[in-house]
């Protein structure tokens, strides 16, 4: 595909969880919990409300086709604010400072006052039915030149447990949302910009790490297509594939549109009730349903089943729309006979609804209300196919295809959060923000100043332990020993099942400092750290794991070993050094520094030879 020729335009919104002490609008910790730790649950219904203009947002309306009951899990780390049972606390100043830092790092202009708004979201992921969001700064750019339009501070949504059940531990964790201009024109550019923004965010040292802590939404359109927002892309490496597949989807939908126009296709305005036709069917789904509606799509034959993305057909899009009414899916004649529906039944259906060879018939089976609602949705989506690509919010599926969530939200979606006072951003506050070093610059500095090789420098700079690394090195510990311990040893211990989260950076630096000064053998570092993870204090850990040998004790040990191997030494002379080192180390490992052992052994051996 020639993306530039297709007129690909893409922008991204990056949502990054902040590692603050407290949530954005309450004093609860930002800790994620296991569902089994819940202390209780409650349930609510949400409904779309009118905006001040008397309109209901089109995206909210779409979510409200059926009355949905949402269940929420509570924890001993959540409170009435998450339950939507208490007004929000003032905006978390720590979170605002981080957002301002990000804004300053990208050369943005802060707003004079931060106003919190409510953004309607009634899919159940927010107990209130809205997500609080606040614009913090405008107009910046990142290295490489991509323009940043806005930086916002938002509250994280509740985590879906399954179906309509949500967990409240995640609700309210602060997020920064960075929105780029739609400046990117190839899949690779999109991925590169996302990577750079991720680097900038991590440079603050104040963001959460790990799966699900950063999510990209991608806005894509092609020249004759439409703007589509794809939500929740978690893996950076999939971004280019998502862009490629969405471009293909839009190209294919435009192809279908052109074909429909050639065929003079249309959508029959009324669904037909066909319940009685399937009274004796072998299809369990149709047999179970007490109401079956058929939608006749004139001239659509073969196109409903046409693939528009790997694993996705126009029929999948229609099914997504229908599911908003609470039905499980649809059948269409492009895929029939199948699923227990026979060729005779299909023929009878076509005859009954007056569908010709070039037509496609879509079936929905459910209760009467739901089936009619779903039939209307199918007709709506079919009509949209005649126009081309609908503006939609979509969600990413595994491997980079997408499914429909709801129409793009309209202007009726945002209104002021009246329970939170605006926060002024004074020039003093803005000027007082210190810019952290970009991780990319840090990596270059580690190469230039510390002599680390490029790969190790990047690994250290990008890791969560970059701060500890720098402090240890400033304290005189050798960079290579520090890097090896922080990146290698800790990971190995963790893999062995040691709970390394119990170690704080200061403790690790203390161990490294003692090793560097020679009071602890380097070989003993893993054992000492492991003991400290088990709860021992540093001195106890060293005594326990590596009772240090004094030089006299070491010399005595060496002499003892040499005296029992006199014959071997006579035979090999100084050539015995290597094998003997192994014997001594076996006894002294972790109790004395390897270098000292080597020196003493050499001296003692020379005296004997």
């Amino acid at each position: 595909m020639d993306f530039e020729k297709l007129g690909l335009k893409a922008g991204i919104e990056i949502h990054q969880q902040l590692n603050t002490k407290e949530k954005l609008f309450c004093q609860c910790p930002t800790a994620l919990r296991d569902f089994e730790e819940r202390t209780g649950e409650f349930f609510r219904y949400l409904r779309a409300t009118e905006s001040e203009m008397g309109e209901i947002d089109r995206a909210a309306k779409e979510e409200m086709k059926v009355m949905r009951r949402f269940t929420y899990y509570t924890y001993d780390t959540t409170c009435l604010v998450e339950n939507d049972e208490e007004p929000p606390a003032p905006l978390n100043p720590e979170a605002l400072s981080i957002a301002l830092t990000v804004a300053k790092m990208t050369g943005m202009t802060p707003v004079e006052q931060v106003h919190v708004m409510r953004k309607l979201v009634i899919d159940g992921s927010n107990t209130s039915g809205f997500q609080r969001t606040a614009l913090v700064a405008l107009n910046g750019s990142i290295p490489g030149g991509a323009r940043i339009e806005t930086v916002c501070l938002e509250e994280e949504a509740a985590q879906r447990v399954e179906g309509d059940t949500f967990s409240l531990d995640r609700l309210g964790i602060p997020l920064v949302e960075i929105t780029t201009a739609p400046d990117m024109h190839t899949p690779e550019q999109v991925q590169e910009v996302a990577r750079t923004i991720g680097m900038i965010l991590r440079s603050t040292g104040c963001v959460k790490r790990g799966i699900g802590t950063i999510r990209q939404d991608i806005n894509i359109s092609i020249a004759k297509g439409a703007r589509v927002e794809i939500k929740g892309v978690q893996e950076l490496d999939l971004i280019d594939e998502v862009v490629r597949r969405e471009t293909a989807r839009q190209v294919n939908l435009l192809g279908i549109r052109d074909e429909l126009h050639r065929r003079d296709a249309s959508v029959n305005p009324e669904p037909v009730v066909v319940t009685s036709l399937f009274a004796d069917t072998k299809s369990t789904i149709l047999k179970k349903a007490n109401f079956i509606a058929a939608v006749v799509l004139r001239g659509f034959d073969g196109l409903v089943g046409r693939e528009i993305q790997p694993g996705r057909r126009l029929g999948s899009e229609m099914a997504d729309y229908a599911k908003k009414c609470g039905v499980g899916g649809i059948f269409h004649t492009d895929e029939l006979p199948a699923y227990g529906v026979t060729a005779e039944e299909v023929a009878r259906l076509r005859e009954f609804v007056g569908a010709g060879e070039g037509d496609c018939v879509v079936l929905v089976a459910a209760s009467k209300d739901r089936a009619l609602c779903a039939a209307t949705q199918v007709m709506w989506r079919a009509a949209l196919a005649l126009e081309g690509v609908p503006e939609e919010t979509r969600k990413m599926l595994e491997e980079g295809s997408t499914s429909y969530m709801r129409p793009l939200p309209g202007a009726a979606r945002m209104y002021p959060e009246t329970d939170v006072l605006p926060v002024p951003v004074s020039p003093e506050r803005w000027d007082g923000i210190e810019l952290p070093e970009f991780i990319s610059a840090k990596a270059e500095r580690f190469v230039a100043d510390l002599g680390l090789d490029v790969a190790l420098a990047r690994q250290v700079a990008y890791s969560e332990k970059a701060g500890a690394f720098e402090r240890a090195v400033e304290g005189g510990v050798k960079p290579t020993l520090t890097a090896r311990t922080l990146l290698g040893t800790l990971r190995e211990l963790s893999r062995e099942g040691v709970d390394i989260d119990r170690l704080d950076d200061d403790a690790i630096i203390e161990v490294l400092t003692r090793a560097e000064s020679g009071t602890l053998a380097k070989e003993a570092i893993p054992g000492v750290l492991s003991a400290m993870c088990g709860g021992s204090r540093i001195d106890d850990a060293i005594r326990q794991v590596a009772p240090a040998m004094s030089e006299e004790e070491l010399v005595a040990l060496i002499r003892d070993i040499l005296s029992t191997r006199a014959e071997f030494i006579q035979e090999r002379g100084m050539g015995a050094l290597g094998p003997l080192m192994g014997v001594v180390m076996k006894e002294a490992r972790g109790k004395a520094d390897g270098k000292l052992i080597s020196e003493l052994l050499k001296r003692e051996l020379q005296q004997m030879v």
Partner: protein, 348 residues
């Protein structure tokens, strides 16, 4: 908006509650338009339950409610019932809803349900409790109930509303949906959601049986004081000239010995003093300890198991009806609208 003429008629009186309120961004205020159309557009399902006529009595925050507005409201409710309303719904801010509900309860003898309803979470939010509370209140207003009640969420779930007796209900939480609680008794009943099925307990007064009647005079010169350790006696002296004073005393109904003199002066000056307890739960008994006996000797009236706010409203109303000290004392100790229970039940 068309209403179904086959459905029973309900009246909705608004005092500035949030059921159909909307913020006007030109003025920054809550819009004052309030008619049946507004309500039905906000809560379409109401139109399947009843026909509505709506009137706005006031458009105020409930902390700005006054006894004179209680009287306006009681008169409007009376007129609606005389006009054939099968039930009356009053939308009200939640802060002082229980004061107004108990005032109406004393002023009005009603054969039909008079239901006070509000919402704890603003109507603009998709999670607001206003829709469920309004629907449940409409169902309660059509039910077999025959007294003044408050209908609000029974728990944090959207599962059912509780029907509370107006003279036994209290707002017990600043923000939760289920802030309202019956004190000293179980709720009169429940309205399930979304079925809107009403179930009433044996305590609930049933519909019909009496003619509607209105007794709408109130004495406003009545005070309410919560006693606290070290309270200076001259706090009480400030109530000189009042016709009544309700004390929320400690425990069984006490104030400090230092306050006795000031109380004597008040009572000798013609002020009726009623003792209630800041415990809220339980009954006042001033015969157990010395201070209590001193209070009784002064002529302090024991308020039984009345809530302090209910005793205040009742005393205002009783003093609006009667001048005779003996009659005031007798009525304050007599159950009139379910505000006094003969026995303190198990479990409360």
């Amino acid at each position: 908006m068309e209403q179904n003429p086959d459905l029973p008629e309900l009246a909705i009186l608004s005092t500035g509650g949030t059921i159909a309120s909307r913020i006007d961004y030109r003025t920054g205020a809550v819009t004052s338009q309030f008619d049946a159309d507004d309500i039905l557009r906000a809560i379409p399902r109401l139109g399947e339950i009843a026909q509505f006529r709506a009137h706005q009595i006031a458009s105020i925050l409930s902390e700005n409610m006054t006894p004179s507005l209680w009287i306006d409201l009681a008169r409007s409710i009376y007129a609606e019932i005389r006009n054939g309303a099968k039930g009356v719904i009053v939308t009200h801010g939640t802060d002082t809803m229980s004061f107004t509900a108990s005032a109406v309860s004393f002023m009005l003898e009603t054969p039909v349900p008079v239901i006070f309803v509000g919402s704890q979470r603003s109507a603009d939010r998709p999670s607001s409790d206003n829709v469920m509370n309004a629907l449940c209140s409409a169902s309660a207003a059509l039910s077999d109930l025959g007294e003044v009640a408050v209908v609000m969420h029974a728990s944090t779930n959207d599962d059912r509303c509780a029907v509370h007796r107006a003279t036994k209900v209290r707002k017990m939480h600043t923000s939760r949906r289920d802030a309202f609680a019956s004190i000293g008794m179980l709720p009169l009943g429940y309205v399930d959601y979304p079925s809107l099925e009403v179930s009433l307990g044996d305590d609930a007064v049933r519909r019909g049986g009496i003619e509607v009647a209105l007794h709408d005079t109130i004495e406003e010169k009545v005070g309410l004081v919560t006693f606290y350790p070290g309270m200076p006696a001259d706090v009480l002296s400030r109530f000189e000239g009042c016709r009544g004073l309700v004390l929320a005393g400690t425990g069984l109904g006490h104030v400090s010995t230092a306050c006795i003199g000031a109380l004597r002066d008040l009572i000798e000056g013609g002020c009726h003093v009623v003792m209630t307890s800041q415990c809220l739960h339980g009954r006042v008994c001033d015969r157990v300890y010395d201070t209590g006996r001193d209070l009784l000797a002064l002529g302090v009236i024991e308020g039984e198991d009345m809530l302090p706010e209910v005793a205040l409203v009742k005393l205002m109303w009783v003093l609006g009806q009667h001048d005779d000290a003996g009659e005031v004392r007798r009525l304050m100790r007599t159950n009139l609208r379910g505000e006094i229970r003969r026995c303190s039940c198990n479990g409360f």
